[in-house]
């Protein structure tokens, strides 16, 4: 993939910063510690920056303040119990965390959820995405001193959380997905409520588009900053909107055969050639709109039938290994599940999107100015629980 001129310039700038570090090691640098408790880090991520004047010459994120050891904990739990744990990985889009694990278990058991459950799963999946990304869009403004968008985001996200609570019983941790289907059917009137709420979220997207993306200060802080070329992005395993903002046309909702109902809806995968902070934010804005479109279309297509297929009361998963990943709000989230035929998994490798997305920080922050550190981190968008697991 050819790099745009702007990408090449940024690449050269970072190389130059690298060279300067080697040549001028004697110059008096300064080490700036950002975090672990800093508003821009959305939790407890610490970033150590070594500065040369106003420029970052070296940066190192320090994760691990929230490591909860889920990979170990899954080994002493049964398959249905694991969803309770994985809910807490990306806590803003919890339902989306459950789906790939349940799909992996279903793949090993060679069962599939009934069509009605698949469509409802897809709807809830996309609602989690809207809830997650709408908070990102509101939070963007705060990084640059604009307070209003975050209030709008918290207000409008509540419509979606109410829907998730209405269907699942949990605002943040639904724990609703089951091997073989869903815990319950949708409550009465939920579909009409959803239609209304999705319209409000579409308006929210327009407001944010107007308020933030059309704002000159926002554009000058974001355009041409933190450029990540496509080859670097794939090398680090960037996924989701971060990869699509670098021009990689890849979306796991479209590009794999998975028992979710995305093929029933008419939607579009957005990419952006620039790879800068602005592109990453813009892609997420467009994706929220696409998610609203998917939900609206799927609401008309929920088939009749059961939401649960026949599964034994005590679930034993046959011996085998399975990898399932889905396009989660933060990027590719997948589970590599090894079963030895018991009640619980033998080993679960949790591949979370933020872990890879944030591993590019030492590269991306090289050569940038201090104020841009905050906007680049914000645009890469990570959830601490998704890095540490």
């Amino acid at each position: 993939m050819t790099l745009t001129d702007r990408q090449q310039l940024s690449y050269i700038a970072s190389q130059a910063a690298d060279a300067r570090l080697n040549v001028e090691l004697e110059t008096e640098g300064m080490t700036l510690n950002i975090g672990p408790q800093h508003p821009a880090t959305h939790g407890t991520l610490r970033i150590i920056c070594r500065l040369d004047g106003e420029q970052v010459v070296w940066a190192e994120p320090v994760a691990g303040y929230m490591h909860r050891g889920y990979e170990k904990l899954t080994e002493v739990r049964t398959f249905p119990q694991v969803t309770t744990l994985v809910n807490r990985i990306d806590w803003l889009g919890s339902f989306a965390n459950e789906v790939p694990f349940i799909l992996a278990a279903e793949k090993l058991m060679e069962i599939e959820a009934p069509p009605r459950a698949q469509v409802i799963r897809t709807i809830l999946f996309e609602l989690s995405r809207i809830a997650n990304v709408s908070l990102f869009l509101g939070d963007l403004g705060v990084q640059m001193g604009a307070i209003t968008p975050v209030f709008l985001a918290f207000r409008d996200r509540e419509y979606i959380l109410n829907l998730i609570e209405g269907a699942t019983g949990g605002r943040f941790h639904p724990n609703f997905d089951r091997i073989g289907g869903l815990k319950d059917d949708l409550p009465k009137g939920w579909i009409e409520e959803t239609r209304g709420a999705v319209k409000k979220l579409e308006q929210f997207c327009d407001t944010i588009d107007d308020l933030l993306f059309g704002n000159e200060i926002f554009q000058s802080r974001m355009r041409g900053i933190g450029i990540i070329p496509a080859d670097i992005a794939t090398d680090y395993g960037l996924s989701g909107a971060n990869a699509r903002a670098s021009g990689i046309d890849w979306d796991l909702r479209r590009d794999q055969d998975i028992p979710l109902s995305y093929d029933l809806a008419d939607w579009k995968v957005w990419t952006h050639p620039d790879g800068d902070s602005w592109a990453r934010c813009w892609i997420r804005l467009q994706e929220t709109r696409e998610s609203c479109k998917i939900v609206t279309q799927l609401l008309d297509q929920i088939p009749a039938g059961p939401v649960m297929t026949k599964v034994p009361r005590i679930i034993k998963v046959p011996e085998g290994e399975a990898w399932v990943s889905t396009e989660n709000p933060l990027g590719e989230m997948g589970y590599y599940v090894v079963s030895k035929g018991g009640l619980g998994p033998f080993r679960v490798k949790i591949r979370s999107a933020s872990f890879n997305n944030i591993s590019i920080v030492p590269w991306a922050l090289k050569g940038v100015y201090v104020p841009d550190v905050i906007t680049i981190l914000a645009s890469l968008y990570f959830i601490l629980g998704d890095i540490d697991r």
């Binding site: 990979e71 170990k72 319950d184 680090y236 890849w250 649960m308 399975a322 030895k340 009640l343």
Partner: protein, 233 residues
């Protein structure tokens, strides 16, 4: 064999003929043949689940060259790298009924897909973004020297994954720039994801057994081979 050309021109959501465009096993066999032409006998074992997934196990020495060959063959997207400990946990699976007599713990090491000879394995996942196909590549880690070649110069993203694998399994990586701990304190003793590392929370408060199973909507008709609690303990 399915055409190897890229199909990145598809811009919209899945169309009605999407299943026909999915890569078949011809594609996955082609990947193995291509890899074999580069690293030859270093491929120890392979497994294909048709139209679904692909596993390749390579010899320990060929771990780095296999990664390089796959990257050259188009698998440019680095998904993850981690370790596997195939030894059954000496503390049991944690699912035994505490009222029953303790069972003799299983000690036989049985590797999963594509087999293996050692207790530890490393495995990684790479994806070809043009052909939309992924591969899981595995390799044995020698029991007497738990060290592999590092992939961090091949895929920059492997740097953090190898750090994680090192602190969780104690598997070293040659030529890794910085194998510091990621999550744990620097003076932490033990390797938490090894099967012989006890999970203390489970040690002090054992699992009560299956006492509370949520009724399933389709329960009445479900034909359950393991419905009897007696089978489980």
């Amino acid at each position: 064999m399915a055409p190897l050309s890229d199909d990145t021109t598809i811009k919209d959501g899945p169309s009605t003929d999407a299943p026909a465009a999915l890569p078949g096993d011809g594609l996955r066999e082609g990947i193995i043949d291509n890899l074999r032409s580069h690293i030859g006998e270093a491929i120890v074992d392979t497994k294909i689940t048709p139209n679904d997934d692909l596993w390749i196990r390579v010899s320990t020495e060929a771990w780095l060259t296999a990664g390089q060959a796959l990257k050259n063959a188009g698998f440019t997207y680095f998904c993850f790298l981690s370790g596997l400990d195939w030894m059954p946990s000496p503390y049991g699976t944690g699912e035994e009924d505490p009222d029953d007599e303790p069972k003799e713990p299983d000690t036989e090491i049985v590797q999963g897909y594509t087999g293996g000879e050692t207790r530890f394995q490393v495995f990684a996942r790479l994806t070809d973004l043009n052909r939309h196909v992924g591969v899981t590549i595995k390799a044995d880690v020698p029991d007497d020297r738990l060290v592999m070649e590092s992939w961090s110069h091949l895929f920059a993203g492997a740097n953090w994954h190898e750090r994680e694998c090192h602190e969780m399994y104690g598997i070293g990586f040659d030529n890794h720039p910085d194998l510091r701990n990621m999550y744990l304190p620097g003076d932490f003793e033990g390797y938490p994801l090894r099967k012989d590392f006890p999970l203390l929370a489970r040690m002090v408060k054992p699992w009560p057994g299956i006492v509370d199973v949520e009724p399933m909507p389709a329960e009445d008709e479900a034909e359950s081979p393991v419905d009897d609690k007696g089978d489980e303990s």
